[in-house]
Amino acid sequence: MDAISSRFMRDYGWLLILLVAAALVPVFSQSNYYISIGINALIIVCLAVSFDLVVGRVGALSFAQPVFYGFGMYVAALLAVNLEMGFWWQVIAAMAGGMLLALVVGIPSFRLNLHAFAIGTLGFATIAHLIATNWMEVTQGPMCVAGVPRATIPLGFMEIAPWKLPQQYYFILTIAAMVVVASVAINRRKLGLAFQAVRDDPVLAASNGFFPTSLRLTAFAVAAAFSAVAGVFAAQFQTVVCPDSFSTATTVTLLIVAFIGGRASLRGVLTASIIFTVLPQVLRIADEWRMVIFGLLLLVIVLSAPDGIEHLFQRVERWRKGRREGGKASGVSAQPFAADTIADITPLGAEERIDGGHLRISGLSKAFAGVKAVDDLSLEVRPGELVGLIGPNGSGKSTTLDCISGITKPDAGRVELDGIDITGMSSSALAKRGLVRTFQSTRVYETLTVRQNLAVALHGRQSIMAEWASYLSPQSESRSFRERADHLIETLNLKHVEHRKAGELSYGQRKLVQFAASVISPPRVLLLDEPLAGVNPTIINLFMRHIAANHGAGLTIILVEHNLGVVVQLCERLVVLEQGRKLADGNPHDVMGTPSVQEAYLGR
């Protein structure tokens, strides 16, 4: 327990210090001027943290964050003026309404791609401003909602009346602290990992069983709720609420804060929010040169830390670490492979039975720019079968896997899994059904560590219910996961890099991580697209044992691979493709002996 709390203090102690410092501002400065700057800064903190949830953590640029803030203000003002509703009702209405609005905007905008989403939110922001300006009956247009009553906030045991500036400051500090805590909490839960996975590689996330759009919508809706609540709080001490609340200038501020703060970095975003709101006020001493100096300072920040302030933090950390360790440069290189030590390791999957899927492909066709990549291909793979799919480059092997796994839609034909038509199903849905693939062009979550890559893959493969039910549980590893992960990591020679980010690994190591992720939760059908390309020959032997073990346990496997030695040794059946058509199909010995195969594939 002590270890956990001391670790928490090390990671988040700075937040507590920051909170105490912020709480002391009104104590040391009685001037209303400074306190108003503080209030302004805290509102920007709320918005910037929720903006970062969407832009930084799931990687979707949104122009709508200030709209949800303005929406919260209007909801509060209108409910107070027209219906005389109390504070807590306003909070509930603003949160629920904000999330609903986020879904209404997000669902159509996310349908296409992330650019469409950005444009969609921009359009939404414009429309919101127009409505606030022109819907006279409700919003009073440019005349603003006036006469908002001064709020009293019942807390059960006491009432707060934030009528004076310092009280308002603490009031807004409370909500800022809550937003920050919520953001930290999300980040430390499994949801945070899933967000990061979707941002790193949505295609891989989908093939791990995640529905990227649902996760992005979740982030967008939660961020909308944060901003709307901030709006309700801010409305409590304003007597008028005007269409200017929707100003796009705020979006620009948020963009700059996000940019100079650094992607998905809480400390970066907080620092940038404070710099951006406090610095212009401090510079008032420079009079008319104020904005010029401010602009120059921003430029200096951007030039010295192109990846944001977060980057500066990391540099300082590295420097301090370097000094602690006496300037010793750390380096991690692959150990020469100790082939002898792995002789007695039980291959994975040996202890369990896998219910292998039955795959039937009929009349599959797919063309790119008029060139037929797959041409009327029919193929049946029985449960537990291990089929090697070989053929010259460009013969349609990867495209076949793409069509089976829902990455591409076939032009014609049908794919069945256990008798159920799965043609055109999303790769997310197929992964949930246990149909898993690896990619030729090696996909990994680059900002996640090797272990996290495996954990995320395992999480996504659960049923939808289990996936969503466990999003708020901590990121700690379960025992069964740890055993499986340890086994894979050790036997694939990844032990020395298990805590490194996958983006720092070499090509061959990424291949291994990708393979490990594909079997971390036993699939029913496994499609391997050149898993051995770029892998050291010594490891190939281990790889083969993994495949053989999974095959032995009953897994259905299609193996696309050019390493014929491996294919012939492992597979009981070979299918040869040429120009998208099946050239041969049978046991490896017969197939390799066929003259047409020798000519097309081996050039003999």
Binding site: A334, Q335, P336, P392, G508, V535, P537, I539, G603
Partner: protein
């Protein structure tokens, strides 16, 4: 084998890395014109890092890289390319939204002479698969075909030193034979020095004059291709072959 003379490219005690990580910790070897060198080692040993350092994508932190007797450690990638060092990076590295022809023209981007078209024709003679698809987008080709294209793109600058990061990656056996044969002839006919990183080490060593083993960021062994293929330690640790 070429007569020992001043090597075309020489590395002396080269150190390099990313950020706080140091990957190469003192790599030294030299290669002459008309030779093929294979760099082998475990996944993550620093082989790709070595090629990137030679091409100038990473800074030489200590030591020196010299080309034709002059240090190039301070030169940027464009200058090294113009001097005659070209690289084919690992994985897909072309312009997927451009046609094959446009990609080949991009390969010659740093050139301004009028021999480009002739070289382009020469390339499609050498890689016939590209001729059929000159008007197609590179991104629509199969992985193996893109690999061929990338090699042809690098050759468009008429390099003296060609760095290949896993040229056989994703190629069918027939293509691998073809690629290795053309690598050999490129070295012999054009007098190029070719340094390649290969996991298909057995086949690579067969056509190599020199084998270099990288282990923990240092050169742990060098030797001729046949020497390497017969070394029991190397067979066991890097080639996955039984010890004879």
């Amino acid at each position: 084998m070429a007569v020992e003379k001043e090597p075309l490219l020489e590395l002396r005690d080269v150190h390099a890395g990313y950020g706080e990580l140091s990957i190469l910790k003192g790599v030294s070897f030299g290669v002459g014109g008309g030779t093929v060198t294979s760099v082998i080692g475990a996944n993550g040993a620093g082989k790709s890092t070595l090629l990137k350092t030679i091409f100038g994508m990473l800074k030489v932190r200590e030591g020196d890289v010299s080309f034709e007797g002059r240090s190039i450690a301070a030169l940027g990638t464009v200058k090294r390319l113009k001097a005659g060092i070209a690289i084919v990076p690992q994985g897909r590295c072309n312009f997927p939204q451009m046609t094959i022809r446009e990609n080949l023209e991009m390969g010659a981007y740093t050139r301004s002479d009028d021999g480009i078209e002739a070289d382009l024709q020469h390339m499609v003679d050498q890689f016939p698969i590209l001729r059929e698809k000159l008007h197609l987008l590179a991104g629509d080709m199969s992985g193996g075909q893109q690999q061929m294209l990338e090699m042809a793109m690098a050759l468009m600058v008429r390099p003296r030193v060609l760095l290949l990061d896993e040229p056989s990656l994703g190629l069918s056996p027939m293509m691998i034979d073809e690629v290795f044969t053309s690598i050999r002839s490129l070295a012999e006919v054009n007098g190029m020095a070719i340094i390649m990183v290969e996991q298909n080490a057995v086949q690579a060593l067969k056509i190599s004059d020199l084998g270099v083993v990288i282990e923990l960021g240092r050169v742990s062994a060098t030797g001729t291709g046949p020497e390497m293929l017969n070394d029991p330690d190397i067979r066991k640790a890097y080639l996955g072959l039984p010890v004879i």
